[in-house]
Symmetry: C3
Subunit: 481 residues, 3 copies
């Protein structure tokens, strides 16, 4: 994928103005070469100029491209350009590396930085950088900067894309590249030898790796409950009373699936933490790694929580439009009409009012806390929180949210548990199923915060070890296992 | 505008505590001078002290101001202070530069950094820095740091305001200032000679330049549709039936204008991308600049999208309060009453239910995606996305959002297209007009993602050139035009 | 609290992968020692390796812990490790410092960096760093890095936690530590002598210090108005008519308290700014500190505003569910039924419609602006705003929001002011009380923006001084008091 396309994708933000700025390079400055005058090459060159480097562009057609390049740099043929500098950035796509073969000799001992990316993973047998090395065996190839877009090069590094990764065989070459990176305002991270180049080239191609598992779970749950409720509500009604209430699929059913999935996801988000604590309790130490599945689970808690919030958001919208729906309005009218026609008296039932209102209130409070949790998980917000504040919000408020939402669901159910009519085809209601997990999580958490258990956990987290203690009493050293 | 006011404006965030911290300066440190002991001067001085510089303040009344300055610095008269250092920051407003004239001789060869800003653009014939240079011809004037507020100087640089711009005639002077900037934790960017000082001085005065065009469009569209609907609905009713339904202006009309403008703005946000692709298809290359109007349009896509989101948000709120409105409640009652009085039977119409519910569902889903797009365009969020993730969200999800919202609007219209009664005074309904643009965008996008077209586009974006190909076949080199 | 727990808390975000990366340390690199192989120690070590340092871990059981430490480092016994480097990080909890006593001699003259934190404030008589110094009098103890979590060390510094604070007696030692900090990508800030160590150790333990006051105010107001309305509405009804409408506590009452508190908090957020301006007007200068209470108030304006937004959010949700409530539906039916039974004719009242709709519209617009203000106060958003943009939003739009919300409340009240029936037990309605403060703020603001006053304020903010002027006319120098 070329720099052009990148900057196009992001050009909501890219300011092209620096492109036209005259940046007088100091006379005695160090010279670097950039092969390739595409967007990525040009942006890199501009950035280098601004950092005070002398920049020579290598191009196949120096004359035609001289108009494109930033003011202050010069363009030569590839051979001449490569000649002129020790450090050479290759801003050309892999398909066109062959132009380097004839230059192999004069590139001997020089540092070639491979910036290239691919369109998809495993597009080629070996990594581009390794291929480059094979073409120019004499040169010191360093893979790096490929995670940067023309956009971030032009606008300068911002918080998240300040980190650049490099790898290569020669330590000296890597340090030379790292020095440039630092001068450009990036913090370079040495990831090892050229063999990890493939990994680096896959970075920009990854699509929400951390979100995959949570998304699968969400999809699975939604599908499962959708069909469960489809059978229980729509099909059941059709089979037993021959009524066609298929229209309810769109809103009513969706409004049952969303809250159910949301609540389950939320409890899935707090379950691993509870499990981890119990594991530590059982092992009596914190100095043993958690099993991998638990580690992986812990790492996607944030994503689980945010997806849960998404479903909660849908639930809220679906609920709020109820009175606008034709169905809702129809029901209301029908009810009133029946009251009149059958000449019934309308009696206000305080219990129902109490129940309904507190059920709604709990939902509102739960959702508000939910939103608060979502906001604090924004990078810029969680960054300004001390870890104690962060843990307070994510743990204390998080479990409170779970508690409120669970109570909200219980109140919704009220005493339906008892009436047999709810168990159509001997199946429980959807929200009954979704109550199991949160209730378990809350119970376990309740156990954990009982003084005695809590004390033990705290001691373990401070490094106290049960078994160790038995061996020798002085041994409770937290950070020195 | 003075530092005082700046820190006031932002003092939600400013912590004044460092002001009182004792910061022992190392003995052998470099000395710089700060003329002016206002907020900006004091904050800069404090920051310099913290970075390990020795700081001498220049003041008109050294004694009275000695109480104000940060611990660790010293205050002298201007002359003495200027004497004591090679690098001198001028934290004084332009109106008071005259105090430098008598010092002209002893300032010869020294570096003067002009930090000043103005209250409004073009307040003075020439830039402050140029004026300063004219007052002290012998000194090396460098413009810089003026984009920083006393606030950001005190709290240290954060992601966005880490970048500082400088300009000046002397490369040495600029490099000296850049060195200081780097040591203070800022990354300085050389913007050229003193002639661009005016531009730098205008930076802090700009008020949402990127938002201006989108805001004009939004205002224009809103006004146009407001009057269109005013005539079609309210005035028409008054003229033909003499009914005064002016009260509908406030909510009903607003709730028609908002969704219309929102949908149009959203399609305006995706139109330029589509046009750009077709332009590339037509030209058969990506190596020619887009016309300026297209470039400018592309650059404000984000703003267009966010404004569209704002209108959608209003639309949602206006819709959700319908059942609370007196008008809504009145209509409901009237309907029921008429049913009773005319002894009609209420018949449930499944089609209407289907249509209404799916119309609402589409709206809800569309809006949720809308919000998601908005969240991912927050700087801190878009920073942590790889460009592939960003493009996936902004392009794929973006067009999906447009599709959902358009379908939502079509369903709302349903078959009103056919009945002639809808064409009051031969004018179409508002939402019919607003459907034109999105439909076009979606159709064009559909064309673009058809395999054959898509393949060509992808090749072009990889650098393949049609005409070039005709000249010579080997010529398809993406980044080497 | 140990690094282990920290990284657990935040492990939503922590990527453990680097832990397994091989990072070949350059041969000739500087060596540092890290005592303690807990999470914090290991993460610090890894970061040091990545920055090109040679790292030697000190451990009680070198063999057992050699498996844990990052590839590229070596583990020795504490004595040997301490021997091998001049700079030694103590990543051990205070309880276990005693292991250093025997090493006191060989630590003479070396730099010991104390990273430790406590579980709660004032856990020990003196600061950990001071305790460490007392154990190893010969060494140069520097407190620092303790605000970092294992998490932020692994993921590299991000915007907010880039700042690290250090303190200590020896300037040389501090500069050595600062150099390391800079190389790790942090910006170190010298806070003075070892005596401030306690303060640094309290940083990570603080829990929303800026939020405390606003939260107290919010809680106080909520409680006060809750009981006021409880008596006025529920108890009054019970006493006078014996009706039990206690169910209204949950939603109706909450929906009265929320908007009231929200409006008051919002005006409390803009009151200090107005007061400050009047104070400057009265004093005729900006060069005198504001009284402390005003300073403190100014500093928590952001928190006041965000809490107000929270209450407004609850108010919106509580309002939107009204038609879903059993009570709401009951009322609607009852109304219609009565219309039929008493054979009344339903007459549409345009005035009521006008009033109701504009009341709702104002609320919607006010809330939308409210949300906009909230979004712009996100760190990542406010960072990209120039101070002029920031002040425009927070001041202009802020006061507009206040105006809209106040008008919204006035319209809600309409002419209830006049009817005596509203003054149950001679007490005014809740929303009347809550209107006092915003009205005052708006009036004062109105005064401030009258041309003549505005001109004076602007001149004062540019540094003009009234009294000074009387002394000598040339004296209006803003930044040189």
């Amino acid at each position: 994928m070329t720099g052009q396309e990148r900057s196009e994708e992001k050009s909501e933000c890219v300011s092209l103005s620096p492109m036209r700025e005259a940046v007088p390079a100091p006379p005695e400055c160090e010279r670097v070469c950039v092969c390739g005058t595409g967007d990525l090459g040009r942006s890199l060159g501009l950035r280098l100029l601004q950092a005070g480097y002398g920049v020579v562009f290598g191009s196949r057609r120096p004359h035609s491209s001289s108009s494109l390049i930033p003011h202050g740099a010069q363009v030569l043929g590839h051979a001449a350009a490569a000649q002129s500098a020790h450090l050479i950035f290759i801003a050309v796509q892999r398909e066109h590396y062959d132009f380097l073969v004839p230059l192999a000799n004069q590139l001997k001992g020089k540092v070639l930085v491979d910036l290239s990316n691919n369109l998809r993973k495993n597009q080629y047998p070996e990594a581009n950088a390794e291929y480059l090395q094979s073409l120019v065996p004499g040169a010191e190839v360093v893979k790096g900067f490929n995670t940067l877009s023309a956009w971030s090069l032009q606008n300068g590094p911002s918080d998240a894309n300040r980190q650049v990764y490099i790898c290569g065989e020669s330590v000296e070459a890597k340090q030379a590249v790292m020095a440039v990176a630092t001068k450009l305002g990036f913090s370079a991270l040495d990831r090892g030898f050229l063999s990890v180049a493939r990994e680096l080239e896959d970075f920009p191609l990854q699509l929400f790796p951390q979100w995959r598992l949570p998304l699968y779970i969400a999809t699975g749950l939604s599908a499962a409950f959708f069909f469960y409720l489809l059978i229980r509500d729509i099909i059941y009604a059709y089979v037993t009373q021959g009524k066609d209430i298929s229209f309810r699929i769109i809103v009513s059913l969706a409004n049952k699936v969303c809250p159910i999935v949301s609540l389950i996801m939320l409890s899935l988000c707090y379950l691993p933490g509870v499990l981890a604590s119990f594991l530590q309790l059982y092992r009596g130490t914190k100095y043993r790694r958690f099993p991998d599945w638990l580690d992986r689970w812990m790492l996607c808690r944030k994503q689980l929580g945010l997806l849960a919030l998404g479903f909660a958001f849908l639930h809220v919208l679906y609920t709020l439009i109820i009175p606008i729906r034709y169905y809702g309005r129809f029901k209301a009218t029908e009810h009133t009409v029946s009251v009149i026609r059958e000449n019934r008296t309308t009696e206000f039932d305080t219990t129902t009012a109490w129940r309904g209102d507190s059920y709604l209130s709990l939902g509102i409070l739960g959702f508000s806390l939910y939103v608060l949790l979502g906001i604090t998980s924004l990078p810029s917000v969680s960054n300004v929180l001390s870890w104690r504040e962060f843990s307070f919000i994510q743990s204390k408020l998080g479990h409170l949210t779970l508690l409120l939402c669970t109570a909200h669901t219980y109140l919704y159910g009220w005493n339906k548990f008892l009436s047999s009519s709810t168990y159509k085809w001997y199946t429980p209601l959807g929200y009954m199923l979704c109550l199991v997990l949160p209730s378990v999580v809350l119970l376990l958490k309740l156990l954990l915060i009982t003084p005695c258990v809590d004390r033990t956990i705290t001691r373990i987290r401070q490094g106290w070890e049960r078994r160790a203690d038995q061996r020798n009493p002085k041994n409770s050293q937290p950070l020195i296992p």
